[in-house]
Point group: C2
């Protein structure tokens, strides 16, 4: 099961964090951009080449200390199919370096359409008897608003390919409560109901460390709800956005973990990618600065959860 592999990497590196690769062209140093523009012009192709170089440099400097990366699909799609190619190449490069890759696509649909997304991002695609992994991530974020018809096609591929999904439950943004916090007649809130559905879907993908292959996105910016969900969804592994740039700290994120320091992985995107700014360095030092920040974040979180053990 995919999250068994993730958990093993987390324990081995004693680091329950994931580096978000949401590269804006503004974040990429001029030296990289100019080299790519010289080669491909000021085009989507040139921009995509620059994003890929940027990502590779960050991966090179963090892969031995960070277990996972989370590329956000939107930042690649905005550079067209050329950007989407850079996404595929980023995923392949991170996997080559032994990292666990979570594609943050928040995909959702039903039936055969959801099967197509599952094949695209987690499974493989058949072309007249030849098989290709189109993107080949280890896990995908998904949106469960459509109910089981949108999740079941993923479970089959997750089982066959040892992959996992993270379902949006309680997101980190200020307006997440507009729908997610509303109380249902059954006494649960909408996000609690979604959490229950995750626990139920997860029964089909049991993992050896107590966590199923159906995880949940629960934001660090709502620490009370994070603690509550940790208790109510004991088999559901959490992907936790909102640490750092969005305002959540280690004490907030702590609520995502069980007593062994397992059960969650904390994301930082801008904090890692733009670390050189906070560290008072130059933009050409972005990769080394990303490593320094990744190590600081790891220590910050370990300082509140202690040693991570099975």
């Amino acid at each position: 099961m995919a999250f068994d592999r993730l958990i093993e990497k987390i324990v081995e590196k004693q680091n329950p964090t994931v580096a978000g690769l949401d590269p804006k062209l503004d974040y990429v140093p001029a030296s990289i951009k100019n080299a790519c523009f010289e080669k491909y012009g000021k085009t989507l192709e040139g921009a995509a080449a620059a994003l890929l170089e940027f990502n590779k440099a960050i991966i090179d400097d963090i892969y031995d200390v960070v277990p996972a990366v989370k590329p956000q699909a939107a930042y690649y799609e905005m550079y067209g199919w050329q950007g989407v190619k850079a996404l595929a190449e980023t995923i392949a490069y991170a996997k080559e370096k032994g990292m666990f890759v979570i594609t943050d696509g928040k995909r959702n649909d039903i039936g055969t359409t959801m099967e197509a997304y599952a094949a695209a991002h987690l499974g493989s695609t058949d072309v007249a008897g030849e098989s290709f992994d189109a993107f080949g991530a280890d896990a995908l974020t998904v949106n469960g608003y459509l109910g089981s018809d949108g999740i079941k096609p993923l479970l089959n591929i997750c089982k066959a390919k040892e992959k996992g999904i993270f379902v949006l439950v309680k997101t980190s943004n200020p307006s997440s409560g507009e729908l997610q916090d509303l109380k249902l007649e059954n006494g649960a809130s909408v996000y609690e109901q979604m959490g229950r559905m995750c626990e139920s879907w997860g029964e089909q993908l049991p993992g050896k460390y107590g966590y199923s292959g159906v995880g949940a996105v629960v934001g660090a910016t709502y620490p009370g709800q994070l603690a509550e969900m940790r208790e109510k969804a004991p088999r559901t592994f959490f992907l936790v956005p909102g640490y750092g740039a969005q305002g959540g700290g280690a004490q907030d994120a702590k609520n995502a973990f069980d007593k062994n320091g397992l059960g969650a992985i904390i994301n930082s995107s801008r904090g890692i990618m733009c670390a050189w700014k906070a560290q008072g360095l130059t933009e050409d030092d972005f990769a080394a600065a990303a490593r320094t920040e990744a190590l600081r974040m790891k220590e910050d979180i370990l300082s509140v959860i202690g040693e991570i053990k099975f």
Copy 2:
């Protein structure tokens, strides 16, 4: 406003339907596939080329009678960046032929990430001062589970570029009720609440025919709920899946329209793409069969709603 343009095309063609372009490689005739495999090999590139040829042939045969196409992103993503390139080329081709293009991506995220999706699919992307339309559709389907933070970044781009969005409200699938039908303490169901949010977001994008730039996806497979939503969300234009292959008929779809026959567009995907099967023709007749089915569907719906007028 984007839906003004769509409404004008619907009235001009007296056809409130949209052809879903969800091409599986299985749907593409052997003659097209073999030519593409000969040129590009049995590869993702070869498959993507075949999908594009298939789409272009359908568009060629329907563009004068059907106002809009709706490519479903999943079926392109499963063929990798090569497939995503075919999506971009399909959109460009349909627009060249004067069709209104709805990208069915059900995208969702927050803040700058949602801005990136909006730029990708509806707006434009800046590369060092040069501007590119990465995908350039007229409208995008989106998922509102994250609340206003996920929708507002779209409204800005919709306003600036005269584009529109369709928010998932009540989807056509059997399990859509698992979450969407649950009653909230305020007496509304989850989908009604989402419909209210659409009406409210739409205030920022008023249209000259009474419908805002924030539409809703409401399935034909739940005709009672469709009628109820038509009444409760009078400024919200509906994109209606579920006609044909999913079981909804013209009488069901009728509930989506106002008394002038406006207010909705009905989608058919497999019914159009695979029409040659139902018509007892050979696969090489797929494009002509798609036209016949498109005209049959138009007449079927007009027979229950009458003439469409402003």
